[in-house]
Subunit: 423 residues, 3 copies
Amino acid sequence: MYNLLKKLFPICRSITGNGVRETFNILKDHLPLDIKEYPTGMKCFDWEIPDEWNISDAYITDEQGVKVVDFSKNNLHVLGYSEPVNNKTFSLNQLKVNIYTLPDQPELIPYLTSYYKRRWGFCMSHNELCSLKDGNYTVNIDSTLEPGFLTLGEAFLPGKIDKEILISCYLCHPSMANDSISGVVLTTDLYKKLSQIDRYYSYRFLFLPETIGSIAYLSQNQKRVLKKTYGGFVITCVGDPGIFTYQRSIHKSHVIDRIAENVLKNSGKEYKIRNFRFAGSDESQYSSPGFNLPVGSLMRTAYPHFTQYHTSADNLDLVTEDALNESLEMYLKVIKGIEGNKVFKNNNPYCAPKLDKRGLYPSLGSQRNISEEIYRMNWLLNYGNGENSLIDIAEEVDTSILNLIETSEKLEKEGLLTLDGSK
Amino acid sequence: MYNLLKKLFPICRSITGNGVRETFNILKDHLPLDIKEYPTGMKCFDWEIPDEWNISDAYITDEQGVKVVDFSKNNLHVLGYSEPVNNKTFSLNQLKVNIYTLPDQPELIPYLTSYYKRRWGFCMSHNELCSLKDGNYTVNIDSTLEPGFLTLGEAFLPGKIDKEILISCYLCHPSMANDSISGVVLTTDLYKKLSQIDRYYSYRFLFLPETIGSIAYLSQNQKRVLKKTYGGFVITCVGDPGIFTYQRSIHKSHVIDRIAENVLKNSGKEYKIRNFRFAGSDESQYSSPGFNLPVGSLMRTAYPHFTQYHTSADNLDLVTEDALNESLEMYLKVIKGIEGNKVFKNNNPYCAPKLDKRGLYPSLGSQRNISEEIYRMNWLLNYGNGENSLIDIAEEVDTSILNLIETSEKLEKEGLLTLDGSK
Amino acid sequence: MYNLLKKLFPICRSITGNGVRETFNILKDHLPLDIKEYPTGMKCFDWEIPDEWNISDAYITDEQGVKVVDFSKNNLHVLGYSEPVNNKTFSLNQLKVNIYTLPDQPELIPYLTSYYKRRWGFCMSHNELCSLKDGNYTVNIDSTLEPGFLTLGEAFLPGKIDKEILISCYLCHPSMANDSISGVVLTTDLYKKLSQIDRYYSYRFLFLPETIGSIAYLSQNQKRVLKKTYGGFVITCVGDPGIFTYQRSIHKSHVIDRIAENVLKNSGKEYKIRNFRFAGSDESQYSSPGFNLPVGSLMRTAYPHFTQYHTSADNLDLVTEDALNESLEMYLKVIKGIEGNKVFKNNNPYCAPKLDKRGLYPSLGSQRNISEEIYRMNWLLNYGNGENSLIDIAEEVDTSILNLIETSEKLEKEGLLTLDGSK
């Protein structure tokens, strides 16, 4: 994952344009992607796809012709969706109107965009701005804002049933390593891992420009999404070394939330829970009242609570290979919990079944030491009434759903439990 | 309010009699009151209106003819509803049988009544009692207990709908400034303020003698009260400078309780919550199982927890103008919350509406600082499904209903929310 | 109770055999027992009654013919259900395979059984084992494992209704004073006490060998148990001087659980609550999904949390007469709560009834001191709507159900409340 991330990091992406296409060309080597291009101007609910933006160069030169800001050094230097500027000269004070900095983080370049209002601008560190001397500066932005397309990618893994788990990531950010790209590379690897296992649910993977991408996609797939989607995750901010954060779906305690929290609680790792954020990423669209889908997000340090967020410091130094791997592993555990969250029925509901004759209980009677495994069997048998799913039982007795899944498989094999559905 | 309170304070009121009538004559200068007189002997559910009590004078003289207790100095000196006594002489020990004091508050005169059992008595400070010398004392109580009437007053402000908010206060206490009269003057001002605004609910104001007054009123208005009343408040103990106390209705978490608590929580002021008190004021009648009305009470220090309660120290020194004004303001905020607790429907349920094109969202994209106002819009839009009222949303996200009301009006004006009812 | 316990203690009981019969012969002097004998080999759900086990003697002799372990000194020395051994000689190392000790409690003999797998064995203190010298040892176990019967006893006290409270204790343990026998003697006394009162519920008392006994009983009485049983208790571990523990039924908050916890909470005594134990006694059978009966257990120190549990230290020294008596008293209080947990209807639902005219309220009006009794009357009248049972009210206002029962009887006598059913 880390290598792919390094490859994707330098590309200048936005919500439209060739940076996104270039990114998909690289991703296509890793998973089969169905690329869609929606025309600019297309209506999507209350929105409209804006013109396609492309940029080849941008810089500010001082009176000596020295480039004091240069897009080719860092693609954050240009305000996203800046309109073209052809060799215009400004005094320093005039120029400052179009310069964005972070006075409280004076060494970092901010990441800013203006998708829906035409303007141009440059982002730079506050220190650099302060070092500019009075005088005239000449601005060049070699960009285009023209009719074109919004590009997105989709992959699908069918399961035993056609209920879908939605895995969504966004790739509209330029060089942001943790916010955005870490999610893209983890989603890519998750696809690979899930393609290799027996799946109960079907899995739909979306690689979109944030907000307008999910809105456009939903507008074109409204019925299917509403009918088929069981729940999902928006994957982002999974590469920094901070502790895990689970952001609940808008339902707060949907089965997917409960399973994610159960897995974290029993992982032995530190973690935080936060409620649905009403100023979030694409989950805001998936969970709008008309769709109302349960979409959570398992992150490391949750945005915007890492200081590098939306600055030039969200770079390759922030993301570690270990963190990415651990995040992938945790997502796989959560999905294992979702896949295994079945409803069982005890085949011997009247009194306890005789476990020792099946080799599941010691033949020497002493109640002094009862193993966890015996408790798990009894929990499953007692609550196995065809109504409780494994997460219901795990919560009732405060244990790990992943352990219950294992024990349930043993009891099913012995004919003591019968699968009675899923929830 | 404080001036009116000073005017009402000296009058000797009881559950019947001319003190109540005199009080209503003063109140009539401030609001249009419909005065009702119910005849004594009238049956009201399990009760009966007792004889009307009037008193012109009462005193105890010692052997020298000096008045050692004198009703004309403090109307608390006579046990309420004392029967007449004509120049009867007693030894000090005999007299003591009919003397009531507070040994643990030796400087204060207690407030006591005996509405339903004929007796006579005097109340005095324990110090005064101790200072009485052995010898004979002559008692005179110039009172009458005769057929007559129970007097109560009613005012009404119609609203858009005929569901009523009941505002009830009691005026049977003689010179009690905080317990009773503070509620009477606040209710009077509340009438004035509410008469000047657009009202969604109708408001019914009752000025009653405590307990028998509300029982008599309910017995004569049973059907209408049951059919029309949405909820209400008993107003008393609103003049002392203590922190606020909200006493919940018997329902504990009726909408009016939830709104009152939300307003207090977001007021920046210290406050307490207490559950319905099963030995309270007229809310005991309104909330009896047959009526079961949600009636709360927003007080300052809740009775009987101020040491002056039901003593001569509950006087003009206890009540401050600031406390009265602040209490009125808080009641107005609670009522604003009740009036504004509407149910809205998001007109763009599929994906977020585009807020920036309506000037409600910054055109420059950075998620680093999200304003409270943006959260409020998103909460209202996401939970605006025609099912949640604003208090439901306010509690769900732990914010102020009054702020939500303001934002909802803005979104309604922009056509983003449509009023869908009230709850 | 303590005398009976001393009498029962020395008998060598098991899940079948003459020890159980001898125990019933003694119990029959104390209560009328219906003794049932189920044939070995009888199928009971997933189980089968094993052969009847009887034992007359067992010992190990050393080369000098000295008995180094002797069943006649402590019946725990023989592994329960040991098969016969006739004069077989083993080296010390060979012998050790069949010797069971507690290395972490080296002075105590463990209590062990092997009901369903044929083996033989001796239990001894670890110190005794260590003191055995190398050499040959001769083993004799004079036991029989033959077709026969499983013996259990039943008693019944009819009530006003045929809904039954199940009181179950187990008597298969040999010399275990607290675990098992304390429950047997308390159940016996409980029968006597309950036989002397007016009963609303019917009471069924079961004296069973643990697990197989309740399984066999349930298999033969399935329909009646399912139809008639309201709830019940497994009585055991009630003789040690530790604080009370209430083990909840599998329903966690069934009425019987709520009443037991209310009684404990208001008893002034320290206590613990623990959830249903999924490795427990006969409640595991009563609460299996097919029966799903609410069966709790009020114990002192809950098994297996006293160090003497299932060892030779669970003897007459552990159990005190005071603890037994206090446990009985607490069970009687819980049953009083269950019997009295009625639903009442307020006969004067509109406004408060006039309590003073019935002598239930002081005629002198002062709200300064309200007695608990007045609160209780108001709670009962306000919540007496034909829907709340007394435990509902007790929990709502956090008071003692036993006190509410007393007050409700007073109000019923005055015609203010009418019994409206039970819950």
